[in-house]
Amino acid sequence: METILQKFLDITNDPYLSVREAKERLGRKVIGLFPMYIPEEIVHAAGLLPVQMWESNESITWGFSHVLSFNCALVKSVVDDGVKKKLDFIDGIAFYDTCMQARTLPFIFKRNIDIPYQETIHITDEVTNPCSRKFQILNLNILKESLEKFIGGKVTSESLEESIKAYNKNRSMLRRIYELRREKPGLLRASELASIVWSSMLMLKEEHNKLLEELLPVLEKKQMAPEEGVRVVFSGTNCMVPKMDILDILEDQGMLIVDDDFFVGPRYFANDAKENVDPIEALADRILMRRPICPTKVDAELNWGNQIIDMVRKNEAQGLVFLLVKYCPPLLCYYPDLKRLFDKADLPELMVEIEHEQISLESLKTRARAFVESIGDK
């Protein structure tokens, strides 16, 4: 199992190198997508390699000439990578108005970073607005047409349908892995699982599917010793890859992570796109799905806190760790409503603030240990 797992870890340990190598090997141009909801399927169907943009592990330096320090880690890091020419293997990039900070990235990129293809579309967050669907379809068609111009060819319905099938297959296998972790906590470390999902965002889906096909039977068969540790679920991080070292530290303090609702997790693979219907409409409908609840979508009728509490109860978890990305407006604004609900439900919660520059890991260990012990005492 370690050998197969290592293949996923190799991809995520150095995403710059692995995406560059995949580009050369596959002969596909690379299109970076600013997370979370631009459909990769359209880029894939154009014969390109879509990748979700990620946060580097380097200090921000040149980027501070273009973004202010109180932007989130992902925004600062993507700009920093861009101006340092670390993204020179990327042939194109597509943005949408994810949040107030991501909103101005197209301006900064156009002015400072030489990338041959750049597109900005609208992804609606008004998921209950009856006019949203038509406009979403229009915007996805704009993306498709601009990609067609870039490749000098057509993106056919057939190729879109094929892409959707490959993506649905990937989503279904990732869902199964999550189910297995719920059934057999400790089956994978949280950082290993995050690596499996994140690598899907960096690889050609067909290749990732092959890796998952190797991994799944091993996970299905694996017998687990009786579980040890305090059962917890994780939430937060919004559009970012959770920091692997933080996941490891938390787990090492006696937490048994049984579920999460991360973007690098269920939010990425929870819903399939419909097959055998108009593919662009299917992809628009997938964007407009109201669950899993996402703090960047506007939906006053649903409450993310209830979804998290449900996740806790279904998994018989004893507590929750909420990873709050510093300077992330959707998380900042939603958190107080969540916290009041957690208090009302008497749910033990550890909130950890995540910044680009690393937080004090020693103090995190102490907090995590105290959290685990306090739950254990209950």
């Binding site: 973004v67 109180f70 107030m100 607005n129 406009f135 006053a300 407006p329 604004c333």
Partner: protein
């Protein structure tokens, strides 16, 4: 070394007309506060489509307007404290926290600042330019069950975006907003009233734009603080009685000053551009500080970007007009703003840029550094960036601003003397 004159109080010629604003906004918020007791509905609006309901004689709240009012009336700190005790985090939008703190006090039955708080609305309209504005209405709905009308105002990155976004917003107004308002008020929507309000807004905004034009005079007859406090009559008071008269008075006073050569800042030495929303809680302090250097801020994308294209307001196409004015005609996006700021350098004879960077308000922050760079490279006009906030005192350091202003004025002087020396040696 540039030094503010510490011995003499800074000289500012205050306008008479702006004294009329206080009673106008007080009346507005009082009507909203008393609406329930008068058996009227009231509405909260996040974003800019307040005319949808204010034109129907429904007392209508406007998020930015209320937060600035609370700061101006020195009660915002009460809300911030309540918000913090209710888990709000300081990095969140200060307008958001201001409202959330008020909701906390209402929810918990705690004392509210007298004569300034406003009650829970009957419904809300989400029509945001800024994405953060969704969150407090969502929370209002979650905490108090207030129905929300969700509208999407996509921001423009280019003229192609405007072309497709404006019809989308117009469609939502027709298909979602109007039917929802009718349902929630239980009466037919009176489009004629909206048209009448737009007729008045157009007249008022055109006069306001003449006032802005008068700021191009050297010396300028007013300050940006005057123009900011005068914003309500074309924003949340738009289309209401007295708004046109206000701006006609202001125009007359400014024209009189220009005719007589009266400067708002006697001996005006530096003409500056301001970037970002105004720091509402520090209007007096900032105006005195700048006056002490004989500096005057004469241009700003906020508030000049609001209805600068008032000639395009078409009351016969009321829903299209709202969509066009608030999707295609606002300068929040750096792509849209930069050409205007570039144009203003010459038109307003700008010497420098003051860029407020607010850690809690991301509406104008993105791209500010590149805007400064572009204006400096192309026109040789330097800028400074400093931290502060519209209403939360936590983020503002007066010492930081002083240091940066002095650096800015030294740079401006250095360039002036350099130019003068070069022209002498060439001459």
């Amino acid at each position: 070394m540039i030094k503010a004159n510490q011995n003499e109080p800074p000289k500012i010629n205050r306008l008479e007309t702006t004294k009329l604003i206080g009673p106008m906004v007080d009346k507005h918020w009082e009507e909203l506060r008393l609406a329930k007791s008068r058996g009227q509905q009231n509405v909260w609006v996040a974003g800019t489509l307040y005319m949808l309901t204010s034109s129907q004689d429904i007392p209508t709240h406007f998020m930015a307007g209320y937060a600035s009012y609370a700061a101006g009336r020195k009660v915002a700190h009460i809300y911030f404290k309540a918000a913090e005790e209710d888990y709000q985090l300081q990095d969140a939008c200060s307008y958001h926290r201001c409202h959330m703190g008020m909701l906390t006090l209402i929810r918990e039955g705690l004392p509210l600042p007298e004569n300034t708080w406003i009650p829970i609305p009957d419904f809300s309209i989400l029509s945001r330019i800024c994405k953060e504005q969704a969150h407090y209405l969502e929370s209002l709905s979650r905490q108090f069950g207030v129905p929300m009308i969700p509208l999407d105002l996509p921001r423009p990155y280019s003229s192609e975006h405007i072309e497709r976004n404006v019809p989308f917003v117009e469609e939502q107004l027709k298909e979602v907003a109007i039917p929802s308002i009718e349902k929630l008020t239980g009466r037919p929507y009176n489009m004629d009233k909206l048209k009448e309000a737009l007729v008045l807004l157009k007249k008022t905004a055109l006069v306001r734009n003449e006032c802005i034009d008068l700021m191009k005079n050297v010396p300028a007859p007013a300050t940006i603080f005057d123009m900011c406090v005068s914003l309500a009559p074309i924003m949340y008071l738009a289309g209401r009685p007295g708004t046109l008269e206000y701006y006609e008075k202001l125009r007359a006073e400014l024209e009189d000053r220009v005719g007589k050569g009266i400067a708002a800042i006697p001996g005006e030495k530096y003409r500056l551009y301001w970037d970002h929303i105004m720091m509402w809680g520090w209007l007096g302090q900032l105006s005195r500080k700048l006056a002490s250097y004989r500096a005057n801020i004469v241009a700003a994308r906020y508030p000049y970007g609001m209805h600068e294209h008032a000639e395009d307001i078409d009351p016969d196409r009321p829903l299209w007009t709202l969509a066009d004015q608030w999707v295609g005609r606002v300068y929040d996006m750096p792509e849209v703003a930069l050409p205007y700021i570039s144009q203003w350098v010459g038109e307003y004879r700008l010497d420098g840029l003051m860029m407020l960077s607010s850690p809690t308000c991301r509406l104008f922050n993105g791209g500010q550094l590149d805007i400064m760079d572009e204006i400096n490279r192309k026109y040789g006009v330097p800028g400074i960036i400093f931290e502060g906030d519209m209403v939360d005192p936590h983020f503002y350091s007066e010492a930081q601003l002083d240091t940066r202003l002095e650096a800015l004025f030294e740079l401006i002087d250095g360039r002036r003397y350099g130019r003068a020396a070069r022209s002498t040696s060439l001459g």
